[in-house]
Symmetry: C2
Subunit: 461 residues, 2 copies
Amino acid sequence: MSDIETVLSTVDSNLDASIERLFDLLRIESISTDPAYAGECEKAGQWLVDTLNDLGFDASLHHTEGHPMVVAHHDGPDGAPHVLFYGHYDVQPVDPLDLWDTHPFQPDIIEVNGAKRLRGRGTSDDKGQLMTFVEACRSWKEATGALPCKVTILFEGEEESGSPSLLPFLAAHGEELKADLALVCDTNMWDASTPAIATALRGMASEEIVVHGPSRDLHSGYYGGAAQNPIHILSSILSALHNDKGRVTLDGFYEGVAPVPDDIRAMWDELGFSETEFLGDVGLKKTAGEVGYSALEHIWSRPTAEVNGVIGGYTGKGFKTVIPAIASAKVSFRLVGEQDPHKVIAAFHKHVETHLPDDCSVEYIPHGRSKATQLDYALPALKQASTALTEEWGKPAALIAMGGSIPIVGNFKRELGMDSLLVGFGLAEDNIHSPNEKYELASYHKGTRSWVRILQALADG
Amino acid sequence: MSDIETVLSTVDSNLDASIERLFDLLRIESISTDPAYAGECEKAGQWLVDTLNDLGFDASLHHTEGHPMVVAHHDGPDGAPHVLFYGHYDVQPVDPLDLWDTHPFQPDIIEVNGAKRLRGRGTSDDKGQLMTFVEACRSWKEATGALPCKVTILFEGEEESGSPSLLPFLAAHGEELKADLALVCDTNMWDASTPAIATALRGMASEEIVVHGPSRDLHSGYYGGAAQNPIHILSSILSALHNDKGRVTLDGFYEGVAPVPDDIRAMWDELGFSETEFLGDVGLKKTAGEVGYSALEHIWSRPTAEVNGVIGGYTGKGFKTVIPAIASAKVSFRLVGEQDPHKVIAAFHKHVETHLPDDCSVEYIPHGRSKATQLDYALPALKQASTALTEEWGKPAALIAMGGSIPIVGNFKRELGMDSLLVGFGLAEDNIHSPNEKYELASYHKGTRSWVRILQALADG
């Protein structure tokens, strides 16, 4: 048996134990955006440090102003490439809890139509995904006592809350983290049987705004009609973000947005994407947003403005005739091409202030800022990884774009001069960021096998 | 000493005990809009029944589909007029709790600039106000053993949540409740030294809407730009309720809205209302709403559309890039003149549906519906009460309009053919419906004395 066959069969025989290890990690409630869970984030980081040290890595926890970073190193053969694997151990909040079929932090396995799936918060995003790489390394070590590449690992705990500590950390630890290539496992396959490498990612700029009107909540009988209502002001601000063609109205918003090249669009057309099915799966019929673009073009190549949360006034049961003192919204912009997140936010502020009466004020709470990224199609590692995936899945890997944002990719390029290979095994229907998140067992199992092959392919050159 | 002097001096000597009795009632957490407090509402009703029976009324609790009604009867001298006194024992919710200086249901007395005030939820709206009448009756009984008029009392427990049981109750108990005149104590004085009788009240139509988009919460990276976002739809609906002149855009909304008669407007002008002070008190500078009207005209004579609450998506700490499945708002319309609340709501539904994409839906949750009301200036009781108030306060009573809605007034007129005399001792700065609600001790004390005098004046004819 060749090395690789031995390693792959080790993955297969380790599967049950491998799931148990993943479940240990999933039980840790590492919600990064809510300060109440800071201890759980620390615990998840420490769990990974311990796991990697057991595997023969030199791993340690690095504290930051937010949640800690996990950094681990393992040597490779002389002349072998050096890869930096990145993932995140933090997860999204779990509300609304009553829509979950099981407790989000008590993972289990169920069988649906003959296929097993893992259920729980983080199964797909991103604990399940990062563990495919850890478990691939485990099998390499168990089967051969070594790894085919030199491997550095970086796990952060703030990806779901804008990664505030990441840039300072890369700046301070650039020498320790720099490698020939970054590997990132936080993306999807094209579909359940077609592996994919994401070559383009949307960027993001997000901001919270709080509109302040009266100095206190008012009775709408005594003040209604005469006093400014912050909900009205906020509604005008949010409603005017788009025109009647669905285009974002901010000044200069589309600067740096280029049309999709014809050959890429042709490749996308061949993927056989069904808009009806994509939207039908979530109870919708027609593509929203800018007129003249398909749903796939929207998600992969067009920028957006989305309101992700809004609150103001009385929101309990029954009715309360109040004019609230404040109303607030969380707004995010998905960016493509060369759009500058800072310019977009500046234009957003200008937009907000245009709608603000003189005697009201606004407070801004900044969140993430990241540019979009695009991989060079001629990169040799892209071909190598693509071939390895094709061998595992029996189908050519699709080169796709992604609507989501993984800011780390731009940071690796700018701060450390590294390209990133985005290989993930999630599916669009994994309910990440929603109740009942899941990950197919096949994603976990064949994902682990895929990394075994990719490490070999990169080592072979 | 004449009867009336004896009774007034009994009010004065009873004051401390009278405050203690009010505090007992204030400690009952009778929030009507939240079903969790149903037991407290029942308790408040029973407390009033017990108190009135102790005073020699024939009082009882009447259960309804919602919170119970308190009905009490007391005979008067032969030929004396029969009055029906109305108040409500339910209170508004208390959130946000952290803005209260003291616990809302642990009332106390503080001294501010030499004047004592009672603090706590319901001190002003409406427990403190209704107790001025109960305590006036107590002093009449203690001092003379009798009441100068025949008195029926009706206290409801659903005024702050749209009074759903009131109309059916009036229909079923019309004969028992019908009197020559209704007295209502749920309004304000003109200012701290000027008593007032409210002769016009705005009506109200209120409704909750829930916009449904995708069948579940979506990740804005995977769906943003392609999927409908219910917060965007809701923002358009709410934003388009007003045009750029501040006028409500619903079809036919201003049907039945007449200009204020010149003589009434002249009376209002003489009140010396300061718009700068009125708005400055709540941190604002300029009158919002329809262009061309003063703040006083807005509140007393113009209809409004106000959004009283809005919620959708992620509203916790931090950020979550979600496209929510639903977003909702609570909207109320203050009505004047002959505006028909049912027509207004129908026009609102039409407005909502104009903004609704084909693959989204909306759910309506109706709340209150009441027409505006206007008292006849020639009513003899108006003159009698006005004289009594002038004697107590040493200043002529102002005949004012009110921006708030007291649906009972229209119901008494339509169902029982009774006019209502609206005499209240609240102040605009009482923070009703807000944190730190209060009631001046002078309002409570001189309010009680005022009712002693009004009962005498009505009896004298």
